[in-house]
Amino acid sequence: MTIYSFWIFDKHCNCIFDKEWTIPSQPRSGTTNSKQNENVAKLLYGLIFSLRSITDKISSDPVDFLSQKNRIRSITTGKCRVHLFETATGFWFALMTDFKQDDYYDILNHIYKNIFVRFISLNYISPSDFVENEDEKGGQGIRKINNKNFINNLELFLSPLIS
């Protein structure tokens, strides 16, 4: 199993973090928040956004209020699979892997709970919302998660999954 890349989008339609591994066996290889990925990010966001509006439409409201709506869990192509995790506060976590593994929900949940919440939400010298004004909303954001704790812990956690 191989992880190719990891993406975080916020409720302002911005990609606030991306990470791409170039050499699969080395967790520290590759690029973080790279300029080149900006377009990929936009495309990925658009893909998910479009699919979401479709899935929303094709399902009725749930009977049990606790169950998720008809959410996308993964998008699979012939070569890879994008695993998705969504929070009530509008964050999307996307993990692009090969298609050997069916479900990465627990992995993404762990990243949210133990890495994102800890090093972003509870980090008082980091923003919790990466938009500072109206101009940065709607996918026009310029701010990224780039603090070392977050990145290092993320890499540490994902390293056994690479290779």
Binding site: N123, Y124, I125, S128, K144, I145
Partner: protein
């Protein structure tokens, strides 16, 4: 310096409740534990956030005080629109500390944080002592005993862990070393727009965290005051120290904290 010639580690060696030592708990200690457990509880996270929120709030208070100072005529007007003003996010308030040019303002903020810590320390000391904690042994009620009390009981209560190391010269100077001071253990500066060099980033990060260290400084002084050492005669400073395990600095806050406590008037301990 002569003072630091013979530092000795105290907490670990003598600490009865340290996890590495499997002590048989005395009946009293067991009872105390049961008693402690029976007390009403809340989520530690809530408490920690409240503690951390003291820092941005103190800055916000200073901002507002300065506003009304600058412009007292318009105060009435402002008062009306108080709630309409957008809330400044905590990290923004904290980052304002860099921009403060006025030293007095800066110090006022630190002093406010220290004062809250001080008041808290005073009351905590009373509360803890009253709780009749059998771990407290005030048999030789000297400065060392009080510092141990701070390291173990106060720190454990407020920050959920004990101080890692206590050093003293036995003449009124103490170093309380905490390698992972809980409130800031996850802190790392997020350079949103990626403009700073690594050095600049580190410098700015350490500067940003400094105000958070004033709270424990105040608490230490408060506890000492409550137990008989006048705050005017106590110097307490927090400084960054390197972590013993360099690797750890990549996954959490990059520095340990050393609280340097100096009690200038130790006359109460003066032997005949």
């Amino acid at each position: 310096m002569q003072q630091q010639q013979q530092p000795s580690n105290i907490t670990r060696r003598h600490d009865p409740s340290h996890p590495h030592h499997h002590h048989q708990l005395t009946e009293e200690q067991q009872q105390f534990q049961l008693f402690q457990e029976s007390l009403p509880k809340i989520n530690r996270l809530v408490y920690q956030m409240l503690l951390n929120e003291i820092i941005p709030t103190s800055i916000s208070v200073q901002n507002r005080l300065d506003e009304s100072d600058d412009n007292s005529d318009a105060e009435q007007l402002k008062k009306l629109s108080i709630s309409e003003k957008p809330v400044v996010p905590s990290h923004k308030l904290v980052s304002q500390m860099h921009e403060i040019k006025n030293e007095g303002r800066y110090n006022n903020i630190l002093e406010r944080i220290r004062t809250i810590g001080f008041k808290l320390g005073c009351k905590i000391a009373d509360l803890l002592v009253f709780a009749n904690n059998p771990n407290l042994n005030f048999r030789d009620m000297d400065l060392l005993a009080i510092m141990k009390f701070v390291c173990r009981d106060v720190w454990k209560l407020v920050f959920g862990k004990q101080i890692d190391n206590l050093k003293t010269n036995h003449r009124g100077t103490f170093y309380l070393i905490d390698y992972s001071y809980q409130p800031i253990k996850n802190f790392a500066l997020n350079d949103d727009t990626n403009k700073l060099s690594a050095e600049e980033l580190e410098k700015k990060e350490l500067k940003s965290v400094e105000p958070f260290l004033e709270l424990p400084v105040g608490i230490i002084k408060g506890v000492l005051e409550a137990l008989g050492y006048n705050a005017k005669e106590t110097i307490c400073l927090a400084t960054y120290i390197d972590l013993p395990n360099e690797d750890a600095s990549h996954y959490g806050f990059s520095k340990g904290i050393s609280f340097h406590v100096q009690v200038t008037n130790t006359t109460r301990q003066q032997q005949p």
